[in-house]
């Protein structure tokens, strides 16, 4: 178990060096949520403090699910995957390493808007423990979701990123990021409750003392449930698809 954890950490360090510590990735992690935030704060005249939980949730969601979809097809294309698979690592260890790097990336980039909210805007952080637990669990959930997107055994990262964005972009509009679900129509609330990002937004809103319709404790339970289900599906399907990546 200890050896598997060290191997996962080795893979995570490799991912951080190769895929995360790149200018465009870092700039995207900062700029994309910032631009969306500004569009809603200035374009629609919404109070910045009301948008803070959504900004943190959005930064967390986009950064922790941004790169994991591309890692597997990229390594298939560059022919580095087979070298990894002949080492004494299992598919879960391999995915765990990719997910760990994404979690670290997501957590670091969600701290930036959090610091902005608390330090500059002066948003009241009433329940920091819920914020920390929510960020950690959500980062894990979204990183696994990112890995799930890379299931098709292709060596073309751009086709996987298309699939990933087709799912991720609509999610930010139905998950209470810009409009709290407490203010949504009831049928929209039902749709919102199907998205894991909703529970991230709700728990962050609760941490900042805003009105929510799902209790923070329930948010943690639901996020944990999403995480377990996504993990089982991801591992099962990657195990099945791995030999197909080696054809040729």
């Amino acid at each position: 178990m200890m050896a598997a954890a060290r191997r996962a950490w080795t893979i995570a360090k490799k991912d951080i060096r190769i895929y995360y510590l790149r200018g465009p990735v870092i700039i995207f992690g900062v700029l994309f949520p910032a631009f969306l935030f500004m569009a809603f704060a200035w374009g629609r005249g919404l109070p910045a403090r009301d948008l803070v939980p959504g900004l943190i949730a959005m930064a967390l969601f986009f950064t922790s699910s941004a790169t994991t979809p591309a890692v597997m097809p990229f390594e298939t294309r560059t022919r580095t995957l087979e070298r990894l698979l002949v080492a004494p690592i299992t598919v879960p260890t391999l995915i765990c390493g990719d997910v760990l790097a994404a979690v670290l990336f997501g957590v670091v980039f969600s701290l930036l808007p959090t610091a902005f909210a608390v330090g500059i805007i002066g948003a009241p952080l009433n329940h920091p423990a819920f914020l920390i637990a929510g960020i950690l669990l959500s980062a894990l959930c979204f990183a696994i979701l990112g890995s799930l997107f890379s299931l098709p055994p292709t060596d073309n990262p751009s086709s996987i990123m298309t699939i990933s964005n087709l799912v991720r972009l609509p999610l930010i509009f139905i998950s209470g990021i810009f409009v709290p679900i407490a203010h949504m129509a009831s049928w929209m609330q039902f749709v919102a409750l199907l998205s894991p990002l909703t529970y991230t937004t709700e728990i962050i809103r609760a941490a900042f003392g805003e009105r929510v319709i799902v209790s923070p404790w329930l948010c943690l339970v639901v996020l944990a449930g999403f995480t377990v289900v996504l993990w089982v599906i991801t591992i099962t399907a990657h195990r099945r698809n791995m030999p197909k990546r080696l054809v040729g």
Binding site: A3, R6, R7, T10, K13, K14, R17, I18, T78, R79, T80, E82, R83, L84, L85, V86, A87, P88, I89, T90, M242, P243, L246, V247, G248
Partner: protein, 311 residues
């Protein structure tokens, strides 16, 4: 035989296509075992099943007594692999690639660093250790891949076409390291379609064709099974009509190679004396004459051509 690799009835289908067809063989510790075959014969598929990354459709493979389906991790701890199409990470330096490989085997830090230094020296990469692999030549990348495969001192080494397209210096360096490893007791499973390389390096070779083992033996024993492939190589000072040479009773066939003729025969002595008679009668001089044994290439061609038999 003290088998470190044992293959029993190993079979692999891709859909309806039978890529590896019920093959059996064993490889001993310290042996260099050549695995030869034309493109698409099933070489890489066999190696992938032996290294635990592709499950067989039927049959079993054991490496160091670990079943490669039930316990691949147990075997992977002790094997080193240079896959046919794998690459190092080009964004990392040679040093970082080696450290990464060693950390996958959870080597203690001081041992890993000293082993990495030793391998970079041995593979003539020390001076370029901090250069990103992106800037390495093909030969340097392949030497780095071999160093990465050896970082944990494996007992069994799998090499898939390790010298394809390499310069002479890199090829020789890899050959000499492989021979040293075998002398120190490492079993080497050497997949190649370079017959001369297999002839020079391998203790035994297996020839696979259409997923089936066409032959398995020492290179010399395989050549001996085709004694009809002995030839007399002769070069004349002036022009020579091949028909005169074909007329020699003991000659099975004649081939022209540049300025030389290869006269295939079961009786080289008889052919040499007939060639001398022909040179005299045609008033020309023999520039050189050699007898050639059957080559492994000849064996390979015979076994892998349509209708070639098993040995």
């Amino acid at each position: 035989m003290n088998a470190v690799i044992r293959v029993e009835d190993l079979t692999r289908y891709y859909g309806d296509h039978l890529a590896v067809d019920h093959i059996d063989f064993e490889v001993a510790g310290g042996e260099i075992f050549g695995f030869l075959g034309p493109n698409g014969a099933g070489k890489t598929t066999t190696q992938r099943m032996l290294t635990g990354i592709l499950p067989p459709s039927a049959g079993s493979a054991y490496v160091l007594e670990h079943n490669m389906v039930r316990d691949p991790l147990g075997a992977k701890e002790h094997i080193g692999v240079v896959p046919e199409v794998a690459n190092p990470y080009i964004e990392l330096s040679g040093w970082q690639n080696l450290i990464f490989a060693g950390e996958l085997y959870v080597l203690p830090r001081p041992e890993l660093r000293s082993r990495a230094e030793q391998l970079l020296e041995q593979f003539d990469l020390w001076e370029r250790r901090d250069t990103r692999a992106r800037a390495y030549s093909k030969g340097m990348k392949q030497r780095l891949m071999l160093a990465m495969a050896l970082i944990h001192r494996p007992q069994v080494l799998f090499l898939d076409e390790p010298t394809g397209g390499l310069d002479v210096a890199s090829r020789r360096l890899i050959h000499s390291r492989v021979q040293e490893l075998a002398r120190s007791g490492t079993a080497v499973f050497y997949t190649t379609h370079n017959i001369e390389e297999a002839n020079m390096l391998c203790d035994r070779v297996a020839i696979i064709q259409d997923g089936q083992l066409a032959a398995i033996n020492t290179p010399e024993a395989l050549k001996a099974t085709f004694s009809g492939s002995q030839a007399v190589e002769v070069a004349f000072e002036g022009p020579m009509d091949p028909a005169s040479l074909e007329a020699i009773a003991a000659v099975n066939r004649v081939e022209k190679h540049g300025d030389k003729f290869h006269l295939y025969t079961d009786s080289p002595g008889q052919v040499v004396s007939a060639v001398v008679d022909i040179a005299r009668s045609e008033a020309t001089r023999i520039v050189s004459v050699n007898t050639l044994g059957p080559s492994l290439e000849e064996v390979f061609v015979r076994l892998t051509e349509p209708g070639g038999g098993s040995q």
